[in-house]
Symmetry: C2
Subunit: 612 residues, 2 copies
C-alpha cells in the first residue's frame, strides 16, 4: 500500500506544490516521508498485533465503567506519542501543520492495522477540530488542547434510541443551570437530561477525562423545546468536571453508562448507551449532566455538520483500509497456496504439481477486483482530503471550487468504499476458501469490521438522498456542472493518449449520468425521483471511480513518458491494468442503475406494505 | 414463507400430479400439509430458540471429543422423531415415500430456524442415501438404516488440508487389512491413513456412532497409488466398530479429532479436522482406521458425485432459508420502527409524528430486493427438487429431460442463493441501522452463517467452471438447448398476457446469453473462455431467475383468472411486484456481465502476478 500511497500523494495529487504555501512551508517530501514512515511503523508494531485480541476480548461493563483489554492502552499511548492528534493544527499549540491529505494518509496505517484500536483517535481529532472551529478561546484551551495532546479523548453524541438517522427527533433537553448560567468561564452552563445511543468510545479508562460533544434542545421558559433541527444546540459535556483551567475538580458528571453494545465487529472501540442527567451521579446536589454551550443556540447541527465532510472522508478511509488489509492478506495467500492446475483441455494432468492459486484466472479476477476497489477508494479519499487542503489554504476561487467539489464527492467518499470494500473483503474470504471462513485467518474479521461503514455517519440511503436531493440541485446544479467539467477535462487529456477507449467509455457514462439526472429531476425534487436515489448514488459513484482511475492512468503515462523508473514498470502496469479492469468490468454496471433512474421507475414506490 | 411455499408447491409446480404415480399414491395435499405443519412446528419450538445459543457457545474439543451445548441434543431428537431422516425412503424401511420437493421444502423450516442445528441432519440423510444407492445389502442394513432411523449420524470426508477444491490431490491411503480383507461381511476391509479437513459434524455426542464416508486411494502392490481422480475409492469408516449386525463391538476406530475449526458462523455444526489411522487408537493391535469399501475401487468420486446434485440443492436451500430469515426479521422491524418522515419537498414537518420506516421508498427497495432474491431462490430450489422427483419417478423421456435440466441448473441452484441471499442478509442488516450491527438482533448472524454457502460443496468459481466448461458444452450443447426451449416456452405463454414487457425482456436476455455463449466458446473450451466463467455464471443465473419469476407470474395470473382467492389479492400482487422488480432492477445486470463474456475479455488473464 505504501508505494501506492506515495504515488497518489506525490505524482497524482502533486501535494508537493502545497509546500510553497506559507502554512506548509516547513514541509517537504522528506518530512511527509518521515511522518508516513513513523505512522506505518507504530501501526505495525503497536496496532496490528492487538487487532485480533480486541476482537475476541470485547469491551465489557464493570461497575459503571467500560473495561477493554489492557493492550489497548499501549496502542493509544503510542498514537498520542506520534503527535497525530494535532497533525493538522498550528505549531503554536503543538501541531504539525501537516496538509490534511497527509494526515488522512498517515492515519490510514492505523485504521488498516486495527480499526478497533484507532476508531477512538479519529473521533477525538474530529471533536477537537470542532471545538477549535466553534469554541471560545477558553473552551479551546481547556478541552481541545487536552485532546490534541492525547491526554483526553472525545466523543460525538448525536443519536438517541428513537432518533438515529432522524436527528430532528432528538429528545435530550438542556436547561439553564442556575441564575448565573451565563457567567461560567467555560461557556453558558446547562443541565442536560437524555439518553444517547451508539456513542463510540463513550466510556473507557484510557484517559483521565472524556469530552462529550452532545446535541440537545434548550427548553424555553415554558419548558417546551423547538421541534426539528432548528431547536438543536451543541454542548461540551465532560465526563469529569474541570475548573476554568482544565484541572479536574474531582467531581464526576451525571453521565451513566447504560450499556455496551455487543457488535458484529469493530469491537476494539467500545460502543455505549449513555444516560445524561438521570441523577445516578448528582452534581452539586442536583440531577442533570453539566454541559457548556458551544456555538450559538439552535446552531448545533450546523456546527456538527461543519465537520461532517471530514468525518465522512474518515469513514471512507476506514472502509478503504479494511478493504486494503483483506486485499493484501488474500494476495499473500494466493501467492503461497497451491491448489489445482491450469484450466483448459488437457492441462489437468494430476501427475504435475499443483499450481499456486494466483495462477488461476478466477483468482486473478478476485484479486484484480479488490485492487480496483481498494486502490480506487484510496485515490478518491486522498483526492477529497486534498480538496480539504485547497479549501483551507487555496486562493479564494480555488477554495470555492474545492468546496463545491467536496460537497458533491462526499456522499460518494462516504458510501462507495463502504459498499465496495466490503465486497472486496468478501472476495478476500473467497480466495482463502474454507480457511477464510475460520478465525485462523484475518479476513473474516475485516469483513465484519467493515460492515459498519455503510451504517454510521449517515447510511448509504442517507448519502443517496443527500446527493440527489440536495447536492445535485444546489445552486441550480453548480456542483454537478463543475464535477462534469472536471471529468470532461480528464477525458479530453486521455483521448489523446493510449487511453482513448477508456476515455470514451467514461465520457459516455458521464453523459448518461447527466441525462438520467435531468430525467430524474423533471419537475423538481419529488418523492418519485428520490425513490431511486440509491441506484443513482451507485451509478454516480461508479462514474466517479472510473474517472479517478482514468486520471491515475494519465499520471502513469506521464511517469512512463518522462522515463522515471522509481516506481518500477510492474507497479505502473498494475495501475493501468486495474484501471482497465474497472472500465471494462465495473463501469458498464452504471447502465442498469441508470435505466431505473432515467425511467423514474416506480416499482418500489408502488409496492404496498401488505404485498410483502 | 409458508404461504409462498404452499403456492410454489401446489399451484406453480403442481406437485399434486405426483400423487397419481404409484410411489406417491398414498399422498395427497393433506399429507403434505401435515408434514409441513409438523416440521414448521418442531423447527419453531425446538430449533429457533437455540439458534443464538449455538452461535455463542461454540463447539469445543475436550479430551478427544467435541462438546456442543446440551440444547442441541433435544433438537436432534425432535428431528429424528419427525421421521425426516427417511422422508424419501421406502415404507418398508420406515420411510415416508415423500416427493423430494416436499422433503426439501420441509427441511427448509429447520434450516431457517437454525442452520447450525440442522446442518448435521442433512449430511446424515445424504450419507444414508449414498449408501442406499451404492452399498451392499448388508451395508445398507447396518449403516444406512441406523442413520435413517436417526440413531447414528453421518459425515462426508472429502477435503484434506492440501486438497480442498482439488480432490485429485488427496493423499489419504487405504491398504487391504490382512489376507482375509475380502471376506468381511461389511465389505472389503481396508486400513485408512490420512488427514481429513472441514468435516462437518466430524465428532459429537449426539448419537452412539458416526458413519464417516471417506475418500481415499488404494495402494497397489508396490505401495503406490494412482494419481488423480481415477485412483480414488470410497469407504465407510465408522467411529465405533460394529459387528455384522450393526451391534457396537466396544472398539473405538483409529480416528482422532485433531481440531475444531473456529468459524465465522454456522457454529452449531462442529467442523473438524480428523486424523485417520495415525495410531492414536490402535485397533486390534494395529495402526490404521478400519474402513469398508463401498462401490467399486476407483469409483469413489463417481459415487460421491452421484449425490452431488441433491447436496448442492441442499446448500442452495440453506442459503435461501438464511436469506428468508433475514427478510422476515427486517420486514417485521420495518413495520414497527419509526424514523424520519416522507421524502420530498415540504413533507418533513418535524411537528408530525415519525413514520414507520417501511413507508420510506428506499426501505421498500431493500425489502423488495430481499423478497425478489429469497422467494426467487426458493422457487429455483423447489423447481430443481421437483426435477429430482421427475428423474426418479417420471417416464423415461421425462426423466431424461429432468436430468438434463438438473445438470444445467445445479450450478445456479448452488451458487445463486449463496451469492444473492448473502446480499439479502446485508440489506436486512441495513434496514435495522445500527441495531442490525449488534447481536441483540438476529440479522448479523444470518449474514455470517450464510457466508459459508459460497464456499462449501464447490465454491462459486468451481460452479462457474462446471457450468461453462462442462454443462454448457456436454452432448454438443443439448442441455443449453433444452433450457433455452423451456425458457422460450414460458416466454411464449407470457407474451400473450399482461406480462408481455417482462417476457420480452427475458427473451432478449436469453438471446444475449446464448449469443455470448457462442462467442465465448469460439474455438472450444479454452483458458481464455474459462477466464470469464464467473461473470458467465452470474449472467446465466440472473436469466434463470428472471425466467422463474416470469413463470411464477404466469401462475399468479392463472390463479387470478380462475377467481381463486385462497391466497388473497395482496399475496398475489406481491408476487407480481417482486417479478417486476427482478425484471426491471436485476435482469439488466446481465448486460455488463455478458459484455465481458462475449468479448472474451482477457483483462484478468493478462494480469501478471508482479503487477498486483
Amino acid at each position: 500500500m505504501r508505494a501506492t500511497m506515495d504515488f497518489l500523494l506525490h505524482e497524482w495529487l502533486r501535494i508537493d506544490s502545497l509546500f510553497q504555501r506559507p502554512r506548509f512551508e516547513d514541509h517537504s517530501r522528506e518530512t511527509v516521508t518521515s511522518v508516513l514512515d513513523s505512522c506505518e511503523r507504530i501501526a505495525r508494531e503497536k496496532f496490528a498485533p492487538i487487532n485480533r485480541t480486541l476482537d475476541i476480548e470485547e469491551p465489557r461493563l464493570e461497575d459503571d465503567r467500560v473495561v477493554s483489554p489492557a493492550c489497548l492502552s499501549a496502542a493509544s499511548q503510542a498514537y498520542a506519542g506520534s503527535g497525530m492528534f494535532a497533525a493538522s493544527q498550528d505549531y503554536e499549540i503543538g501541531g504539525m501543520q501537516l496538509p490534511h491529505a497527509v494526515e488522512a494518509a498517515a492515519n490510514g496505517f492505523f485504521s488498516k492495522a486495527s480499526i478497533g484500536a484507532s476508531g477512538g483517535h479519529l473521533l477525538t481529532t474530529g471533536n477537537a477540530n470542532l471545538i477549535m472551529t466553534h469554541g471560545t478561546p477558553r473552551q479551546k484551551e481547556v478541552f481541545a488542547h487536552n485532546e490534541l495532546a492525547g491526554r483526553w479523548f472525545g466523543t460525538m453524541c448525536l443519536s438517541e434510541p428513537q432518533a438515529g438517522s432522524s436527528l430532528a427527533d432528538i429528545a435530550t433537553r438542556a436547561e439553564a443551570d442556575g441564575a448565573d448560567f451565563e457567567g461560567d468561564p467555560l461557556g453558558q452552563r446547562y443541565r442536560l437530561h437524555g439518553n444517547k445511543m451508539w456513542i463510540s468510545n463513550g466510556d473507557h479508562e484510557l484517559t483521565d477525562n472524556i469530552v462529550h460533544l452532545v446535541l440537545a434542545k434548550i427548553s424555553g421558559a415554558d419548558g417546551k423545546v423547538i421541534a426539528g433541527i432548528g431547536g438543536i444546540s451543541l454542548f461540551i459535556v465532560p465526563k469529569r468536571l474541570v475548573d476554568a483551567h482544565g484541572k479536574l475538580t474531582g467531581e464526576r458528571n451525571d453521565i451513566a453508562v447504560a450499556g455496551v453494545n455487543h457488535k458484529l465487529g469493530w469491537r476494539g472501540t467500545p460502543n455505549t448507551l449513555l444516560n445524561f442527567g438521570e441523577g445516578r451521579f448528582p452534581v452539586r446536589g442536583r440531577h442533570g449532566a453539566i454541559g457548556y454551550l458551544i456555538g450559538k443556540p439552535g446552531e448545533g447541527i450546523r456546527c456538527m455538520f461543519h465537520m461532517m465532510n471530514e468525518a465522512r472522508i474518515a469513514v471512507g478511509i476506514a472502509a478503504t483500509m479494511l478493504g486494503y488489509a483483506g486485499y493484501e492478506a488474500s494476495l499473500a495467500y494466493a501467492k503461497d497456496r497451491r491448489q489445482g492446475r491450469h484450466a483448459g483441455p488437457g492441462r489437468k494432468d494430476p501427475g504435475t504439481p499443483a499450481v499456486r492459486i494466483i495462477e488461476h484466472a478466477d483468482v486473478k479476477r478476485m484479486l484484480l477486483t479488490q485492487k480496483a476497489y481498494v486502490e480506487g477508494s484510496l485515490a478518491l479519499e486522498l483526492y477529497c482530503a486534498r480538496c480539504v487542503d485547497e479549501q483551507r489554504t487555496g486562493s479564494r476561487e480555488s477554495a470555492d471550487k474545492a468546496h463545491l467539489l467536496l460537497e458533491m464527492l462526499t456522499p460518494v467518499a462516504k458510501s462507495w468504499p463502504s459498499e465496495w470494500c466490503v465486497e472486496a473483503n468478501s472476495l478476500a474470504i473467497q480466495i482463502h476458501g474454507g480457511y477464510g471462513y475460520t478465525r485462523d485467518f484475518p479476513v473474516e474479521q475485516y469483513w465484519r469490521d467493515n460492515r459498519l461503514n455503510m451504517i454510521h455517519e449517515g447510511t448509504t440511503g442517507i448519502q443517496a438522498l443527500d446527493l440527489l436531493g440536495r447536492k445535485v440541485v444546489m445552486g441550480e446544479g453548480r456542483g454537478m456542472k463543475l464535477l462534469t467539467e472536471e471529468i470532461k477535462d480528464t477525458v479530453r487529456q486521455a483521448l489523446a493518449t493510449s487511453l482513448r477507449a477508456q476515455a470514451e467509455a467514461v465520457s459516455a457514462a458521464l453523459d448518461a449520468l447527466n441525462a438520467a439526472t435531468v430525467s430524474a429531476l423533471e419537475g423538481g425534487i419529488s418523492e418519485r425521483a428520490l425513490a431511486n436515489a440509491t441506484p443513482y448514488l451507485q451509478a454516480f459513484g461508479h462514474v466517479v471511480l472510473a474517472w479517478q482511475w482514468l486520471s491515475i492512468s494519465l499520471t502513469v503515462l506521464q511517469v512512463k513518458t518522462r522515463g522515471d523508473d522509481s516506481y518500477g514498470a510492474a507497479f505502473l502496469n498494475g495501475k493501468l491494468q486495474a484501471a482497465r479492469f474497472f472500465c471494462e468490468f465495473e463501469l458498464p454496471k452504471t447502465g442498469p442503475w441508470l435505466i431505473v433512474v432515467a425511467g423514474r421507475n416506480t416499482t418500489c414506490l408502488d409496492m404496498q406494505e401488505e404485498w410483502f
